[in-house]
């Protein structure tokens, strides 16, 4: 079947405009801006100063390392929590309850992230709902501040990205044939063996795509660290925001932005390499 050139161009033109003008060019601009700066007379020059600042100023690279580590921890905790939940929905819940459970799982994530974080804030803060009940029940004598520390921040990050781990895990677990588990059980395998040799290997694609999305969302999150983390728990996106909006140093901010982009691409690439998958497969 010969296709008309006209149809091709109608599809091609908007797509190339979108990708070129809104994806490629802006990121090239980000890269060039990160190598620009001013000399002592205030003239624009090419320079590596922005990257040098990153490595010589401990605040910057420590925040960077901290952000990466916490994003990895968040991904791991999310995985640990999502695994039994998706197992329950896919393999244990009665068939009729399954659909309802899925809807209940999805609903909170259709609500803006800000509303969810705000909910946690009024639950956890010093004058919050949780403190009110604990005082009433006599568990504590004075209210404790549960917000503004690293543990709460990680809890918030896990909460906001939970869904993106559960959904791929449920769909991959549903594709696992029950008879495999039954056979293993009949042959005398224990729970641990079944998990280790059947369920986990089968779920690998779901785990990869879930982990990649959760990691990326945690790394690029701004709201949760900003509202739930303490004064000392700077997130790297906050550094970028400060450079852009507060200090108006766009060149420095671009360097930070590019470093963050590099880090996220690198870790995603590694994740795909380790599990021998392609981005296209994970996305669909």
């Amino acid at each position: 079947m010969s296709r008309s050139r006209l149809a091709f161009w109608i599809f091609f033109a908007p797509v190339i405009m979108w990708l070129l003008l809104l994806i490629v060019l802006p990121h090239l601009d980000l890269l060039t801006m990160s190598f620009r700066g001013e000399n002592d007379y205030g003239d624009p020059i090419w320079t590596l100063q922005n990257y040098k600042n990153f490595f010589t100023e401990p605040v910057y690279w420590l925040t960077f390392v901290r952000t990466a580590l916490y994003a990895i921890i968040t991904t791991f905790i999310t995985f640990l929590l999502a695994m039994p939940v998706s197992f329950y929905i896919a393999k244990l819940a009665r068939a009729r309850a399954q659909g309802a459970l899925m809807i209940m799982l999805l609903l909170p994530f259709w609500v803006s992230e800000l509303v969810r974080i705000y909910g946690w804030m009024i639950l956890l803060r010093e004058s919050g709902v949780l403190n009110f009940f604990m005082l009433k029940l006599g568990i504590i004598d004075t209210p404790i501040e549960m917000l503004y520390n690293d543990a709460t921040m990680i809890m918030g990050l896990v909460y906001t990205s939970m869904l993106f781990m559960v959904v791929p895990l449920v769909s991959v677990m549903e594709s696992l044939d029950d008879s495999l588990i039954e056979a293993a059980h009949d042959l005398g395998a224990g729970h641990l063996t079944i998990w280790r040799t059947i369920i986990l290997p089968h779920c690998k694609p779901g785990i990869t795509s879930g982990s990649i999305v959760v990691f990326m969302l945690a790394l690029g999150n701004y709201l949760t660290p900003n509202l739930m983390g303490g004064k000392n728990s700077l997130w790297f996106t906050e550094q970028i925001y400060n450079q852009f909006i507060a200090s108006f140093n766009w060149n420095q901010g671009s360097a930070f932005g590019f470093l963050l982009l590099l880090l996220s691409s690198l870790i995603i690439w590694l994740g795909l390499k380790l599990t021998r998958q392609k981005l296209g497969e994970v996305a669909s």
Binding site: I103, S112, G119, M121, L261, S284
Partner: protein
């Protein structure tokens, strides 16, 4: 272990308890936010002072409810406008992209496909600053060469629309492509044999087949745009969208008006999600 295998009572009960705890964790912040929107108190916290609709309908001078709060109402309108344009634009371009990648063959298709997926792995903050930089560069260029001044190139309503469109289109493309893969090509061939033109076939047959996917993707695009924060943060001008406006209020201290807005958002998005779900179920 699973539905069909014998399980111990303890195993069943501990699993059920875990799931109940998990869903409590999921819904607690939303529930608390909704309940406290109706508390007759000046702070969004317990104790309960009785039921009141003040935070929705009071019109001053001590309390200003949501429906008399101009700033919040304006931001809601802005968010609706933004989401409307983003949904329309991304549905058009996303549909073009799925036709392009599923039906056409051309050089560098692999590269272009990779670029189309890229927004999935670019953190929203980075996308925001890149577009801010690019818009600034373009603005300076047009100003210096032609002496023209475009609003589009400054943080403004349309820049926000473009920024959100740049990554939401990817989601639309993936959803529509998945449906297009299920399309029976003999229908197209039959129409062509009967004398239809190439574009006529696309219009009357393929698009009709894709309609549920397109409507679903449009609804998702609308919701994604409505609640986007990270990308919007850097592109927003004098007209803040609802998430940005709420963020500024939450950061500077909170009043139950935020709870009232959250309540409306939770109810609204839940309804929309359920309607969307109902139609997808019906389609199957």
């Amino acid at each position: 272990m699973i539905r069909s295998l014998p399980r111990s009572k303890t195993y069943d009960w501990s699993f059920n308890l875990f799931i109940i705890l998990y869903f409590t964790f999921l819904f607690a912040p939303l529930l608390v936010t909704c309940v406290l929107a109706f508390n007759d108190s000046n702070f969004p916290s317990l104790p309960w002072h009785g039921f009141s609709l003040d935070w929705f309908i009071a019109d001053g001078p001590e309390r200003i409810g949501l429906f008399h709060d101009d700033q919040n109402l304006r931001s809601i309108v802005t968010s609706f406008q933004t989401a409307f344009f983003v949904a329309i634009l991304s549905v058009i371009v996303g549909t073009c992209a799925s036709f392009l990648f599923e039906k056409e063959e051309f050089r560098f298709k692999g590269v272009l496909y990779f670029l189309m997926l890229a927004p999935l792995v670019i953190p929203g903050v980075i996308l925001g600053i890149s577009l801010l930089l690019a818009a600034n560069t373009a603005g300076t260029f047009f100003d210096e060469t032609f002496g023209l001044d475009f609003d589009l190139f400054r943080p403004s309503f349309w820049l926000v629309v473009l920024g959100q469109f740049s990554f939401i289109s990817t989601f639309v493309t993936l959803v529509v492509s998945a449906r297009l893969r299920k399309f029976d090509h003999s229908l197209e061939e039959a129409a062509l044999n009967l004398g239809a033109t190439q574009l006529g076939v696309v219009w009357h047959i393929t698009l009709k087949f894709l309609r549920p996917a397109i409507i679903g993707a449009g609804a998702v695009a609308f919701l994604m745009s409505f609640e986007n924060f990270n990308t919007t943060l850097f592109l927003v001008g004098s007209k803040p969208t609802l998430p940005i406006n709420l963020y500024l209020q939450v950061r500077d201290g909170s009043t139950p008006v935020i709870n009232a807005v959250s309540f409306m958002l939770i109810v609204g998005t839940s309804l929309m999600a359920l309607v969307n779900l109902y139609f997808t179920k019906k389609e199957e």
